[in-house]
Symmetry: C2
């Protein structure tokens, strides 16, 4: 695909801004109808989407079918959440005329920020790309969207974009509600993020890419929020009683999680921390046996495969790092070879290279001498999307200090399961302290993700008939609202 020119981008951004003036005033029901229509259009073009994505991403058909189903589920789920309106955070404080001075009527709701630029993920050509979570939640919030297609799946992106254009046409959304831009060059991304009419950015990808967008956005005359999900190593703490009980089961569970989707998930467990013991040796031996049996598979594209090979080689070359197991089958071109390594805690603490994400089917086991060393490691890890505790109740109670440190470093804390698998539900936090994301206060999965693209606006002393429907006395949209400090769907009598 040829990059759009800077003139084309300028036109597109202006059109998006113009469309925002109309689209932002569409009712919650109208926005939801549009978002659901996108889901329908995606279903209609399933075959083309799957076939093209298979060619562009090397992902297998079954995985892509699952991902497309997830994308359609997300669109419908966020459309429902849009109408339900909890994300609007409505607060109504009615007037108290008899107070001295009189208390005015004030009503607050979230309103959309403006045109949003979305940079899709290479590892999720559907669910976190063109018609993915960022786009759907921005539309739900009332924002217009400009997607910069990921160059690694630009044709797939074209097909998804066509579905969105169809949906927009069928539901009478203004021209410019959605815009699709191609750009392999950095200049395209920079032009979009630094344009004064762009008001927010969504991104899923590498630390380098996300941090660059974040810096551009904050160096603008008017800084804007960037929601960059930049991956993480997702530490897993194996606590002793649990490890003693279930070393083999844990090893099998983690062999599968580490190699799921050729390890190409941002929640891939890249770090396993445990105390030296016979049980740990059992775990390592069993994990090694499992990993040896798992065949290498083709990665998303050559760039990802090369990066995996390079970063893994670099990690394995570090002092005191030992390879525990590799798949017996040798990788063909662009395949990722499942690999497990180990290192002692002291070396890990001293060598920051070992804290970096190796994106692919790789995990590093850190062997500690004692609980203090395990705690010290937790205290020195950077922000993470997830952390996992393999632990009995006794383990949790006994390691209270460790648990508190682990809570502070991540966005989701899992007990006795794997971090891979990100549910689309209200309770999901997909985000975490920097550098996992650029803004730990928001999630990119689940309906609360809508709130990323909105800000509160208070209406003071407005007549009921002039207020937006969301804030009118009789609650015509039937939304839960906080009226005079109490949650209710009732009318706000004044």
């Amino acid at each position: 695909m040829i990059d759009n020119t800077l003139q084309e981008i300028e036109l597109a951004v202006n059109q998006s801004w113009k469309a925002f003036q109309i689209y932002s005033k569409k009712s919650l029901q109208e926005r939801a109808t549009f978002i659901k229509a996108i889901a329908v259009e995606l279903s209609l073009t399933e075959e083309a989407l799957i076939n093209t994505a298979m060619q562009e991403t090397n992902l297998p058909q079954a995985r892509l079918k699952n991902e497309l189903a997830r994308t359609i589920f997300q669109l419908n789920s966020y459309a429902d959440a849009c109408i339900k309106g909890d994300w609007l955070e409505i607060r109504i404080d009615t007037a108290v005329a008899e107070r001295n001075p009189p208390k005015p009527d004030i009503r607050k709701m979230l309103v959309p920020l403006g045109p949003v630029v979305v940079f899709g993920a290479s590892n999720f050509p559907f669910a976190y790309s063109t018609a993915g979570g960022d786009t759907a939640t921005a539309f739900a919030a009332g924002c217009t969207v400009i997607v910069k297609a990921h160059p690694a799946h630009a044709k797939t992106s074209e097909i998804a974009a066509a579905a969105i254009f169809q949906a927009a046409a069928k539901t009478n959304m203004p021209h410019g509600t959605f815009t699709h831009i191609h750009g392999a060059s950095v200049k395209v991304g920079k032009t979009l993020v630094t344009h004064s009419l762009i008001k927010a950015v969504g991104f899923t990808g590498s630390y380098g890419g996300g941090k660059q967008l974040f810096d551009w956005a904050n160096q603008r005359k008017e800084p804007i929020p960037v929601f960059a999900e930049m991956g993480s190593i997702n530490p897993v703490f194996l606590l002793q009683e649990k490890l003693n009980q279930s070393a083999v089961d844990i090893a099998k569970m983690y062999a599968a999680s580490i190699t799921l989707g050729v390890g190409q998930f941002c929640t891939n467990p890249g770090l396993i921390i445990a105390i030296q013991s016979n049980a740990l040796n059992n775990f390592i031996n069993c994990l090694a046996e499992e990993i040896k049996k798992i065949a290498p598979a083709t990665m998303l594209h050559q760039g990802i495969a090369n990066a995996y090979a390079e970063k893994k080689t670099k990690a394995l070359q570090q002092k005191n790092v030992t390879t525990v197991a590799e798949s017996v089958a040798q990788p063909a071109q662009n395949q990722g070879q499942p690999t497990i390594a180990t290192v002692n805690a002291k070396t890990f603490l001293e060598n920051k290279i070992l804290h970096e994400e190796v994106f692919g089917p790789y995990s590093l086991i850190v062997q500690c001498n004692n609980e203090d060393e395990m705690l010290t490691i937790a205290q020195h890890l950077e922000g993470q999307l997830t952390s996992t505790l393999m632990a009995t109740e006794n383990d949790i109670i006994k390691n209270n200090q460790l648990i508190e440190v682990v809570k502070n470093l991540c966005g989701r804390i899992i007990i006795n399961s794997v971090p891979t698998g990100v549910e689309v539900c209200y309770a999901m936090q997909h985000g975490g302290p920097f550098p996992a994301t650029t803004d730990s206060r928001f999630t990119s999965v689940g309906a609360d993700a809508i709130k990323r693209f909105a800000r509160p606006l208070s209406f003071q002393n407005w007549n009921d008939n002039l207020l937006p429907d969301e804030l009118k006395n009789n609650n015509p949209l039937n939304i839960w609202r906080m009226v005079n400090n109490e949650w209710t769907k009732d009318s706000a009598n004044r």
Copy 2:
């Protein structure tokens, strides 16, 4: 007061971090008890607070008494909101074992960010300073607080700090829960904001100060959120039918608002926009008569008085700007002289100097030729804390496009009142698009301000007895929670 040394600051930050590990685990009830104890301690030292603040800020006794009462009200109100727990945004999605794959149990709540640095405001020695809104909401969120005292009222700050220390001691909060730092030098602020253990910043003051903190915070290895409220010119649009009906009443209302507290409020109406007409002439004449009668009064300190004189003189010297009225009485040293000026719309649009805040009892009337010019001005204003419409229903309906533009540029939109006076209630949005604040998605007034200092954390697959009380099945804290997509106080059966 002597600046704290960098060694002292290093010790203080480390102590704050240590205290955070304990304070963040205090129950909502314990935090609220502490915050309410601060309110009690402030009341007990009212005389010293008022007398010292009178000397340091030149604010009159009545105003300071009001502000202290507001501060005490805020503390109690945020303590109540802390216990009520709506700010926790609890979401519970229970497990669905029969789904394929099984859906895990996931529960989400907000958790505190870490130690917070608060920079107090010169114009609010109590309500937005040492024991003010930022400090109270950070405590409610579970964060420890380091206040850098405003050098203009450092002694007042000492007394308020002593009240907080007393309250912390009486409610058994750990040493370091609150820290009070002095620093007239920029180095003190920079050291605090760039320290790796500081996780958020609250600030109320000038654009220059707030933007500097924002830049430091974003240039850190781990960027952190800065909530800087940097003031605004709070445009007031006089629409025609309303102006025709009520020119004299509006003029009287605005003469009072412009000069309230010597104009030293961030919501001071610094810009009035109207279309040329006889009614506008009436308004201007009446406003001029009112302003002439209002005596100059002493401003907060010499720096503020000098800045007011300089910025006002600069504005009045701009081409086509005419002084409409000044108070007849001449200002004594450090007094602010109430002043009204006017300019045509074309000049205003061309000259960005006229868009800058003149902090003090000053307002600029922009005279437009027609509605298009008024719209163009709205389109070219920067982000604002508030905007006000003086308008009949007909005006609102007729000027629909203008209203939509005005909504986009501010955090609070007022009809037929004045922007001064910021209610402490849930529905208040005190914040607005940049440069009014650095983060339009949050408020610094009202209980939602607690959310600035917290982030979501999901707990996946936890046993009920290990979960925080906020997330336990039987809802022991009796908080409104969203359970499986529905708001309830009921138990989350699983």
